[in-house]
Subunit: 344 residues, 2 copies
Amino acid sequence: SRSLRLAVIPGDGIGQEVVAEGLKVLAAALPADVKLETTEYDLGARRYHATGETLPDAVLEELKGQDAILLGAIGDPSVPSGVLERGLLLKLRFAFDHHINLRPGKLFPGVASPLAGQPAIDFVVVREGTEGPYVGNGGSLRTGTEHEVATEVSLNTAFGIERVVRDAYRRAAARPRKKLTLVHKNNVLVHAGHLWTRIFQQVGQEFPEVATDYLHVDAATIFFVTQPERFDVIVTDNLFGDILTDLAAAVTGGIGLAASGNINPSGAFPSMFEPVHGSAPDIAGQGKADPTATVLSVAMLLDHLGHTAEAAKVEAAVAADLAERAGTRTTTEVGDALAARVSG
Amino acid sequence: SRSLRLAVIPGDGIGQEVVAEGLKVLAAALPADVKLETTEYDLGARRYHATGETLPDAVLEELKGQDAILLGAIGDPSVPSGVLERGLLLKLRFAFDHHINLRPGKLFPGVASPLAGQPAIDFVVVREGTEGPYVGNGGSLRTGTEHEVATEVSLNTAFGIERVVRDAYRRAAARPRKKLTLVHKNNVLVHAGHLWTRIFQQVGQEFPEVATDYLHVDAATIFFVTQPERFDVIVTDNLFGDILTDLAAAVTGGIGLAASGNINPSGAFPSMFEPVHGSAPDIAGQGKADPTATVLSVAMLLDHLGHTAEAAKVEAAVAADLAERAGTRTTTEVGDALAARVSG
Ligand SMILES: CC(C)[C@H](C(=O)O)[C@@H](O)C(=O)O
Ligand SMILES: CC(C)[C@H](C(=O)O)[C@@H](O)C(=O)O
């Protein structure tokens, strides 16, 4: 019998609640001969306040032995901005070389978009996850004074861009519309932008069947609200991807439904799956959070581990549930309903 | 009698067409005793191809003697990306220290927003214009090879942030709702982000009447489409401002209506007014471009020069025109209609 060693990091706020439902659906979806072995890791604001730790080396070591990570949400207003983000969430993404940050933007039938006309939206953003302005290369001089100067350096490598661009082409080639859009700002950030553009064109020669397009990030935000149906696969840098995927979540019905995978395709380190939303401390502990984004992240996890049919089943369960939604349900009720659909 | 020395840079594509209408309305709006002296500067793709020049020093010197600049649009696919942007448009913004890049986001009655429910949108983005990732501080190593590394450095100074933040507080204090939102990404770009946040809080002490708020840029994009009515004044960095103001244009009816002012409040150098849209080469020369964004930029120009009543008159003309729009009109027809309303 096979096993799936899953690290579970519920994290802060609603993270706890949504992860519980995600695990419920995962258990229901996994093939019978796969033994699920979960290890829960207490990381986030609570641990930080108790011990000052964000991600101890020993935990990082242990995580390396896992097949995958399911993460709820990280962050609390009681912790200074950046401490948990840089010290835990981004540390995991960088330590495990999660260079493919995969974020689908899909408007499910029955879900209301804030966009008039309810356009047909079905794209996926391939966000670079280990470079760009996220590298943590910055500093400040004369800190705290009226003469302070602060820098942030965006680092971009041909190696790092090529692997994410090739991944995006592969995904585009495997989809019916076979269209890939590069989003950057190569008319202002000329060095990084020209590198992205050069590699995008170069790798494109391996994929003559994929139609390509380039948009500046500002123009892309316009099309996200005026013509989102034009997008199929989008590849972009870490920061632009962060911005565009929240916008994508907004136009497809909200961050309650937006899933993501931080993927290391080599398998050298575990990939990590998490809803795009944050810890939402204002509604934490009230059973109000929608676990759907976590459940869709579980579908991505299943797909990543090769359980393609099971992944499709989970996504179909979500689609069916969304199509029939009526009234308000608790976090657990939504999780139960999805698990029942998957088992049924 | 007074005079207004105006530099006119029509630029590329539809720039020519929309600027002609902007000037028509400006002439109609100016007080009778103000003599308009325009000087047209041939800058943009045509000149670049003819002479290789983007912004010759002699032209820059001449522009310094003008009271203001009206710019149409810069850019053409025949020119490599970045050449005209960095060598002309951004060069003007930086040389003339246009640190207040002012961009209203207003949904006029009668204009269709792509957002369902047609929310009441009336905010203004105060985008920093002379710092951040736009400084042009980047480079590349092993350029053109598989080992290329490219950097982009965001430079942020207490001095530069304080002046734009104070300007934004002043604008917020002068508006009925008195609300100011800082947008940044201080949980990831911690050095620049913490500097922005510190100064935002510090300057806020001078404006106890202004309610403040902070949003990460990704969250801000969500609210732009789900709750745009929550915003009053927004202050943000150069790149985030670029992205957010195109999104703002999209939700308020499109870039055909979005105006902007690149302002140097000290008056040491001329301020520059331009529509947010680009040169749109695909529709250039066909009389199809909507000159409204340019006309609204002219209103901002009038306001900047102290012609407050005339600015209000131009904005009222646009509002009236938009409320009654029906059928398709040419660029000239729209300009004529607006000029007639302003004169009438
Ligand atoms: C919490 C933050 C560090 C993170 C990011 O910026 O990547 C989040 O916004 C996301 O998109 O996963
Ligand atoms: C053309 C480009 C350099 C410019 C910018 O990025 O500022 C434009 O997008 C704008 O918003 O005025």
